[in-house]
Amino acid sequence: MADVADLIQTHKETNDKIDDETVNKIMKLAALNTHLLSESEKKVISDGLNAHMAFAKHLYDESVEVVEKEDSNDFHFRLLESDHKQSEPLTLSALKAQIEALKPDFEKGEVGFKANKPFFTIKK
């Protein structure tokens, strides 16, 4: 069993690192502002992400080159019954019947729910 410290140490010695540009990109995706960070804070984040990478790489068979493509996300397993046990194909009459039967649910806030203020406000 690999030692965690060894994994992280091994990863530090490779060229496969999280650089500043990647940190900036990830922060931006999370709608966070990177230029408020100090250099030491950036390094903490970078080190943390590098550790994550070490664990992630360990989980994959290193002999197989994993080519990340957006399309491969389409084939992820989903725990949804309909993916594995296909329902009856929807006909036009069935679709129309579903529309007729629609009824808003008070418990879901679909009836009479309003915000207690006119707007949701974000201060820049």
């Binding site: 309909s82 036009l92 679709l95 806030g109 006119p118 406000t121």
Partner: protein, 515 residues
């Protein structure tokens, strides 16, 4: 009710293309579906035409509260399928929803639910026909088929309002409204084709009651992708009117030419339009990584293989092209522009027209449709316009107009055209006067002389003509000198004298004989 002028001429200057720089464009249209409820919840939908307080048409799911889950509204699915069928698309028997991740305050879930991998429909088309699908001054040189890449169902976002206090106010009434995104192939070669396509598309979605078709209020929003001479494409987002689209494309086309002329490669990027110029929003390198993944809470959509055909068979007779074809052929024989006017007003004026034709036919089957059309599009609409009013079917119900037409053009004609115009003007100017036509004819003394022999009528006509000739020697001199049209002045005087009870043609013949 909106009265749309039959002949509208744009005064916007022409968008001229340089033959050395080939213009290529594809468009993406976001269409707000006209459903009762939102896309993944059953909170009520609103449009900009509904005045509702902000954040009053929302559910827990719409604002992304924890523990809520999406459930597809089948009405949105039906409207999307209708659109797909109308555009001849291949409806996919299996489609699914995916999450498009990005952070913005108007997107409460942190992602938009869309269809990235498996859209609802692919490969359709909309053909533009020269002479039929022209739009005002925008005339198509030839028929043009615009191919459609795909249709996908997705959520709309909330609205962000930026204040001077450095705050962003968010209204989630629009969040989770159902949209269909239509993506065309880059088949457009000039702005005329784009303009005509948008108009035809708007008419189609309005006609099928899929969408209000209102661009100005955001029910239809357009992004364009433009390239010049096969170079990189530039996307211009969020154009809210055909004027903006034209101005933005014209600017961007010129900008790309200027770059090419100094041998600078046009970058593939996304730009916005600020009213004066296109401005860079982001480049390919700055492109957002949307991290698309299938939505883990929504079942795939499995459709019967025959559903598209069933829907098409239902809507086919109502498709604008079919109705237009019906209107320009016998028995209606409408001019294309009049047929298009009816299509543009399909919710009120079109059914009115059909009812009018039927009502006139029931009263007197010998009256031709061309006569009815002349009444509808010249006399009636002209009369409303002269009175500075918009056409209102409640002011002039179809049965009242049918009676009027029969009174003038029917077998037992009781009114001259002149008298009928007087009556029409009275009815339009006095919408509160609901008296039947017979009562108005009597009060205004408009009926043709009855129980008067033809001989007596001819004698009276001759008498009036002689009197007018005597009183207008200068006009008579002009007519004799060769100015034949001056005779119309004398006819007008005679019609006035007779209160329009005698046909103008009789006066004309008599004046010609006497002079």
């Amino acid at each position: 009710m909106r009265f749309i002028r039959l002949l509208s001429h744009s005064t916007i200057s022409r968008f001229k293309l340089d033959p050395n720089y080939a213009f290529k464009c594809g468009i993406e249209i976001h269409t707000q579906l006209k459903t009762k409820y939102k896309l993944f919840s059953l909170s009520p939908t609103t449009t900009s035409s509904h005045i509702v307080p902000p954040n009053s048409s929302i559910s827990y799911f719409d604002i992304g509260l924890l523990g809520t889950q999406p459930k597809l509204n089948p009405e949105a699915l039906l409207l999307a399928l209708k659109l797909a069928a109308a555009l001849g698309c291949e409806v996919q028997t299996t489609s699914a929803f995916d999450r498009k991740h990005y952070m913005y305050p108007d997107q409460p879930l942190g992602y938009q639910i869309t269809q990235h991998y498996h859209p609802i429909a692919k490969n359709g088309s909309l053909t533009l026909r020269s002479g039929v699908d022209d739009e005002g001054n925008y005339r198509l040189d030839a028929d043009k088929c615009i191919n459609i890449e795909q249709l996908q169902i997705e959520q709309d976002t909330g609205k962000s309002i930026y204040t001077d206090d450095d705050e962003i106010k968010i209204d989630y009434n629009r969040a989770n409204m159902p949209l269909v995104e239509l993506v065309t192939k880059p088949d457009f070669e000039n702005f005329t084709q784009i303009r005509c396509f948008l108009r035809k598309y708007q008419q189609l979605v309005k006609y099928l009651n899929i969408c209000s078709g209102d661009m100005e209020n955001g029910a239809i929003r357009v992004d364009v992708n433009i390239s010049v001479n096969g170079g990189n494409r530039v996307e211009i987002k969020n154009l809210g009117s055909t004027t903006e689209i034209k101005q933005a494309l014209r600017y961007e086309y010129k900008r790309q030419i200027q770059l090419l002329q100094v041998n600078i490669t046009v970058s593939q990027e996304t730009r916005g339009w600020n009213g004066t110029e296109t401005v860079k929003a982001r480049s390919k390198e700055d492109a957002v990584d949307y991290r698309y993944v299938p939505d883990s809470e929504l079942s795939q959509i499995y459709l019967s293989p025959t559903i598209a055909k069933e829907i098409y068979d239902e809507i086919e007779p109502q498709l604008p092209e079919r109705v237009l074809q019906k209107l320009v052929l016998s028995p209606y024989d409408l001019e294309v522009k009049h047929a298009k006017f009816l299509l543009d007003n399909n919710d009120n004026v079109l059914p009115y027209y059909f009812q009018l034709v039927e009502a006139v036919g029931a009263r007197d089957p010998h009256i031709k449709c061309t006569t009815i059309n002349n009444w509808m599009f010249h006399e009636v609409l002209g009369s409303f316009h002269k009175n500075n009013q918009i056409f209102d079917i409640n002011v002039l119900p179809f049965d009242k107009l049918a009676s009027l037409i029969t009174l003038v053009n029917g077998h037992d004609s009781r009114l001259t055209l002149t008298s009928a115009r007087v009556l029409l003007t009275h009815v339009i100017s006095n919408p509160g006067d609901a008296r039947p036509l017979d009562a108005l004819i009597e009060e205004l003394d408009l009926e043709k002389p009855r129980d008067v022999s033809e001989h007596d009528i001819l004698e009276a006509v001759q008498e009036i003509c002689l009197e007018i000739i005597e009183q207008n020697p200068d006009v008579v001199k002009k007519i004799r000198a060769g100015k034949a049209k001056s005779i119309n002045h004398l006819v007008g005087l005679a019609m006035k004298e007779s209160q329009g009870k005698v046909k103008s043609s009789l006066f004309l013949q008599t004046f010609q004989r006497l002079i």
